[in-house]
């Protein structure tokens, strides 16, 4: 698995503090929803920095999309968000990962639980499902529970709402730092009641994908198992505070 220089085709705003990079990767072998790539930056003096980013685009997409959250005193994300522009080269390596992946042919209900930027690999799964034919989609009901601090931290909001309308995806949001009426969602940490509302009972044998910061992932995974879900059907990916 070697490093390839991808070409930046587009850089667009995704949320208040995040950008989506669209890349043309020569000889891209294809990928599965949930996988990630490594990104490497090398300075003229040889100094290197490397980070992993989940792939936001579905396997069906010819171009690779990465959504990068800009961390203020980070080393890599400010470069990707502020400096990189169309036409630049960016070294990537991948795709990587074989555990936290989903294919629409894995029929059965799917619960997606995202904390913060943990939404990215789950978005690839939603987009992948949206591109599948109607028969396969019908076999894989999908429900998303997405937790962020504020409304401005949500990625892909309009696209998610469109998927809810057009694709029969269920989506619920919880904004943990905002108070408000519960018209548009929850305003608290994810708990048993929330997971029961948005998910399926264990008898339906759903697969759950939980992605985000470690404390959220571990709390949600533990709660799902306490609710009676088979631990081998609760898949987790912990994100670190990378900059």
């Amino acid at each position: 698995m070697k490093w390839t220089v991808a070409s930046v085709v587009e850089v667009r705003d995704e949320a208040l503090h995040a950008k989506t990079l669209v890349l043309d990767v020569p000889d891209w072998p294809g990928h599965r929803a949930g996988q990630h790539v490594d990104v490497r930056l090398v300075a003229e003096d040889g100094y290197q920095a490397q980070r992993s980013y989940s792939i936001a685009s579905p396997p069906e997409s010819r171009q690779l999309e990465l959504t990068v959250e800009r961390i203020d005193d980070g080393e890599v994300s400010p470069y990707l968000c502020d400096v990189l522009h169309v036409g630049d080269g960016l070294e990537v390596r991948g795709p990587i990962g074989g555990y936290f992946v989903w294919d629409v042919r894995d029929a059965g209900p799917v619960l997606l639980v995202a904390g913060g930027s943990g939404i990215v690999p789950l978005m690839a799964m939603m987009r992948h499902r949206a591109r599948a034919d109607a028969n396969l989609r019908a076999l894989s009901e999908m429900s998303l529970l997405y937790s962020t601090r504020t409304l401005g931290d949500l990625f892909y909001l309009q696209e998610i709402e469109r998927l809810v309308e057009e694709q029969n995806v269920r989506a619920a949001f919880t904004l943990t730092r905002e108070k408000g009426d519960d018209r548009r969602g929850y305003h608290r940490r994810i708990d048993k009641a929330m997971l029961t509302d948005v998910g399926w009972p264990p008898s339906h044998m759903p697969r759950s994908y939980v992605c985000g910061p470690t404390p959220l992932v571990e709390s949600v995974a533990r709660t799902l198992v306490e609710l009676g879900h088979d631990p081998s059907r609760v898949l987790t990916e912990r994100f670190g505070p990378t900059g």
């Binding site: 990587i96 990962g97 074989g98 936290f100 470690t214 994100f239 670190g240 505070p241």
Partner: protein, 83 residues
């Protein structure tokens, strides 16, 4: 600060020449069998340290120095990879 085996996937791929995050690993200390992607990862910038989620025993350690790769798999009793 802990992550999980997914964070080590790139390094493990360098070692095994294939993805092993879905491979089933058996803990040498307590016998628990889990996918590599679900093992707890602690080393981060210093190296890869994968621990058993059930008993916290160290299952796999990897350090990459400029000249070498040191791998200690003595805590892993078995690794089964679907090919």
């Amino acid at each position: 600060m802990r992550l999980d085996g997914n964070a080590a996937a790139g390094q493990l791929r360098e070692l095994f020449a294939m993805d092993v995050t879905a491979a089933m690993a058996t803990c040498g200390a307590c016998g628990t069998r889990r996918p590599v992607g679900s093992l707890l990862e602690y080393g981060q910038a210093m190296g890869v340290i994968l621990c058993c989620p059930a008993c916290a025993a160290v299952m796999l350690r990897i350090v990459r120095t400029p000249a070498s790769m040191h791998v200690d798999g003595s805590g892993m009793a078995m690794l089964v990879i679907q090919v």
